[in-house]
Every structure is written in C-alpha cells, then in structure tokens.
C-alpha cells in the first residue's frame, strides 16, 4: 500500500511541476494581446476550410484492433513469465502453442491485407 501512496504522490507532483511554469507563463509573465487573426488556427496564412474534426480513416481502427490482440496477449504473458521458475516443460509447450495461435491471427490479418497501408 505504501508503494502505491508513493506512486500517487508522484503522479500529483508530476502534474504540479509542469503545471506551475505553464500557469506562471500564461497568467503572469506572458503578454495578453489577443486578436481574431492571431487566434485563428495556423494553415499557411489562409483560412481553414470546413470542419477540422473529420472522421478517422478506417485503416487506423484496423491497426488499433490488431494492437488490442497483442495487448491482451501480453497480459497473459507477463504473469506466466513471473511464474516461469515453477512451470513444467509441457506448460511452456502450451504457452508456445498459445503464441503460435496468436501468430496465426497475425498471419490471417496479413493475408487479408489488414496490414497494408492504403
């Protein structure tokens, strides 16, 4: 529990340390001379046309999905790695099978063209 208090304090301090100079900059030291032209989004000197928040291309979702597969797999892999001293040889073979099935999934995505950037 003590360790996690330390982590919590660290996250808090990690927010305060960069937050303080930012506030110092934007509230106290920095000049405040706004005008509509200055505040407009940068686009090589011309007005932005249309809405900025467009849809993501579907390709990004496919890569994210393939990543999720590997992310979930790692959740299983790390506890296995920690308990590695105790596991028997056939369990290691089972884990190998698990990874091979996963590699099969990658191969499937590859063959289906999900990994091509179009």
């Amino acid at each position: 529990m003590n360790e996690w208090t330390f982590i919590g304090l660290f996250l808090l301090m990690g927010a305060i340390f960069p937050g303080a100079p930012i506030l110092l900059n934007s509230l106290i030291l920095g000049p405040k001379k706004n005008n509509p032209v200055k505040n407009s989004p940068y686009e090589c000197g011309i007005e932005t046309v249309g809405d900025t928040w467009v849809q993501f291309k579907v390709q990004y979702y496919i890569f994210a999905l393939v990543f999720v597969v590997f992310g979930v797999e790692t959740i299983f892999l790390f506890p296995f790695a920690v308990a590695f001293q105790q596991v028997a040889l056939f369990m290691v073979v089972e884990m190998t099978l698990f990874i091979v099935i996963l590699a099969g999934g990658l191969l499937y995505a590859w063959r289906k063209g999900a990994l091509e950037w179009v």
Binding site: L9, P18, L24, Y42, V92, T96
Partner: protein, 433 residues
C-alpha cells in the same frame, strides 16, 4: 551511525536520521512516513525536470558536431546555460489558444505528456538501495504509464482545431499504438529471464552476466521500438517538419510548447535508462558490492551511452515513410519478437530441466539460440528480397500481365512487385514460429 554506514546506504541512513528528528518533535508515525515520502518524490521529480536542461544542450552539441557545426557555445561555459536562457524566453512568450480549440483537453495535454514520462522514474533503481519505490509489477507499470504519453499526444493534436495537428494525431494513432506491441513482447523476455517484474530484481538477476548476452534480439527490438515510442527522427512522423509543419504541437506556444519538449527529451533519456536496466545490468558493475554508491555512476554511464545512441540515430538516419514504418513493425518486429519469446522460453526451460546452474553457460546457450534466430530471420529476409527482385526484373522485361501503357510501366511494375513481395514473407515466415 558511523561514516561507513552513511557511505554504504546514504538514502536509508538519511531517512532514518530524518525520521528520528521528525518523531522527536512529536509527529505521528504516519505523518513522518508521508513527509519522508514527499521529500523523496520532490527530489526524484526535480531531478527528472532539471535533467532535460542538460540533455537538450548535450543533444544540440552532439548533433551539431555530426553536421559539422559548432552548436550553442555562447551562453555560459561551452553554452551550458543556453537551455536556461531558452526556458526564460519561453516563460515570457504569449500563451495563445486557437479559436475553437477544446480548452480543457488542449491545456491538459502538455501536462499529461510530462506526467507520463516522469512517473516512470518512480520505479527506476539508481542503485541497489536508491530507488523511488520497488513495485512488484514495475515492468507493467512502466509500459502502462508510458502509454499515457501516446494519449497526451493524441489529445494535443485532436484538440488544437488545426488540420496539421490532426494529421499528427492520426499518425500517432498508427505509429505509437503499433510500436507498443513489439515493445511489450520484447519487454517480457527480460521479465522471463529474471522471473520478476520488479526492476530492481531484474537488475539483481544480471549479477553475473547481462541480459543483452542472453537476449540480444529482444534487446535490439526493445531499443528500436522505444525510440519509435519517443517519436524521434527515424520515426518522427508525428511532428514531421517538412510534411505537416510541426505536427501535434503546432498550435502550442510558450511553456506548454516547452513542456512537450521536456517530455520528449526526458523520454529519450528514459529509453537509455530502461535499456540499461533491462539489458545492460543497471547499477551492476565491478566493486558495486563493496561500494553501493558506485551503482549510481554505472547506471548513469550506461543510461547516457543508450541516450548517445539515440542521438546518433537521430543525426544519421532520415525519416521513414509511414507504410514502410508500419510494415517494419507488423511484418518484421512483431514476428521476430514472438519468435524470440518462444525460443527464449523453450531454451531457458530446457536448460533449467537439464539442471545447468552456471549463469555463464545459460547465457551462452541462450545467445546461441538467439544467433540461430537472427540467422534464420536474415535468411528469410534475403530469400524474400531475392523473390521481390526477380518479380521486379520479370516485370521490367515486359512479362507483367498488369502492366499499363509504356509511360507508367515502371511504376506499375513496382506496385506488382510490392504486391508479390508482401505475400512472400507471409508464407516464408510461418516455419519460424
């Protein structure tokens, strides 16, 4: 308390002394604990925030030397105070929020990107006894807070209401998320070899021989993917100056802009530090048992060596195109990382079953296994390159059935060759698993 003890375990001794002092003025034990913890946090966090002041100067000098320039050398001795001057300049710049930006997300992004990097240092062991806190899930903690940085960059790009920034965020989604997969996979190899996720235990397990000997393939993959996670030059698509101006931080000014840079430079150094801890033995070194303080020196030296390598990569390599980058990740790094896990796992278990105790023999055998893996990878790659070249030559000779008119013929042939080549390694890499 004698001087020898203070020299051997300075943090523990100072901690004890402070605890006695605070208890003697009548504070509750919990309050004393909390105060000591806050002091520890402040020391490590300020070290982390002051370090980039030096790193930025160091990197500018090294890159300048690589490009046959002098670099900053006017402010202070050898230009050492240049970064401080830059920080003061950033402090007195105007803070602009673009019209239509999502204000909360826009302002939270630079802070979150610093949090993501600084939090990693909470579990990094500087020496056997000098460590923020020893988490038993340290390795997982590192990657989980590290991936907050990805979120921060996407938040910054998305909320700026700028199309260049949005493109940067798009690329982040593809690049950083993709490279996290082989990063996680290669990270599990040292965890496997040390049988622990605690970083201090991982370092202690490298007492006789460093893990880079037992797992060179995983070490290489870890280093490369970590550099990609930082978004430095061979992989700096998210802020590619010549394509999307400045990418995700294009609208940021003043200190918010500065904080993105603090996070980037500190992250680059953290890559060196993590590589040192996981593969180069962290604080291990000669005489470290007699004089534990030497560990800090060894650790910093190894971390700086790693950081120096990151800088050299930045100065020497051009930017990769996005499809090449994703291919490199999904079609090369991920399969090789999976194969590296499998061979390490099976090899280590067989060695353990055979009853070999010597750390050197174990590392040597695992090195041989890795060498075979590297050779097989090289063989597969050169075979697929041969096939690709043959397809290209056949297409150039006019046998390409998909070839269009004479003008765009070469271009078409290239596409055909790429299509052929992409199916080649898929079939070829199957036996490797």
């Amino acid at each position: 308390m004698d001087i020898g003890q203070l020299f051997n375990d300075p943090v523990g001794q100072i901690r004890q002394l402070l605890a006695q002092l605070l208890t003697s003025i009548g504070l509750a034990p919990q309050a004393v604990d909390l105060i000591l913890m806050v002091i520890g946090v402040v020391i490590i966090a300020s070290f982390c925030l002051l370090l980039p002041l030096f790193l930025i100067w160091f990197e500018r000098r090294v890159v300048a030397r690589m490009q046959d320039r002098v670099g900053p050398n006017r402010v202070g001795p050898q230009g050492l105070l240049q970064t401080i001057a830059d920080a003061i300049k950033l402090l007195i710049k105007e803070d602009i929020t673009p019209t239509g930006a999502d204000k909360i997300v826009y302002n939270a992004a630079p802070i979150l990107s610093v949090i993501a990097v600084i939090s990693m240092w909470a579990v990094i062991p500087f020496a056997a006894t000098i460590v923020g806190t020893s988490l038993n899930v340290g390795a997982l903690y590192i990657v989980s807070v590290g991936s907050l940085g990805t979120l921060a960059i996407m938040m910054g790009g998305w909320s700026s209401n700028n199309k260049y920034a949005l493109l940067g965020a798009f690329r982040t989604a593809a690049q950083l998320v993709s490279y996290e997969a082989p990063l996680l996979l290669s990270l599990s190899v040292p965890v496997l070899l040390a049988r622990s996720m605690d970083l201090n235990t991982i370092v202690a397990a490298q007492k006789d021989v460093w893990f880079i000997v037992a797992a060179p393939v995983a070490a290489l993959i870890f280093f490369l993917t970590s550099v990609a996670e930082v978004g430095r030059t061979p992989f700096d698509l998210l802020e590619a100056e010549s394509e999307i101006v400045a990418g995700f931080h294009i609208e940021y000014t003043g200190m918010k802009f500065g904080m993105f840079f603090v996070a980037e430079f500190l992250h680059a150094f953290t890559v060196g530090a993590l590589t040192a801890i996981l593969f180069l033995g962290g604080w291990q070194g000669p005489f470290v048992e007699q004089v534990p303080l030497l560990g800090v020196l060894y650790f910093m030296a190894k971390a700086f060596a790693g950081y120096f390598l990151v800088i050299l990569m930045r100065a020497a390599l051009p930017r990769i195109r996005i499809d090449h980058m994703l291919d490199f990740n999904w079609k090369f790094l991920v399969p090789v990382a999976l194969a590296a896990i499998v061979v390490t796992m099976l090899g280590d278990k067989l060695i353990q079953t055979a009853g070999i105790d010597s750390a050197w023999i174990r590392a040597g055998l695992l090195f041989l296994v890795n060498a075979v893996l590297a050779w097989a990878t090289y063989w597969l790659l050169s075979a697929s390159a041969r096939r690709l070249r043959a397809a290209e030559e056949a297409a150039a000779a006019g046998h390409d059935p998909m070839g269009g008119g004479p003008d765009d013929h070469g271009d078409q042939a290239e596409h055909a060759a790429v299509a052929h080549g992409d199916h080649g390694p898929a079939a070829a890499s199957a036996p490797a698993h």
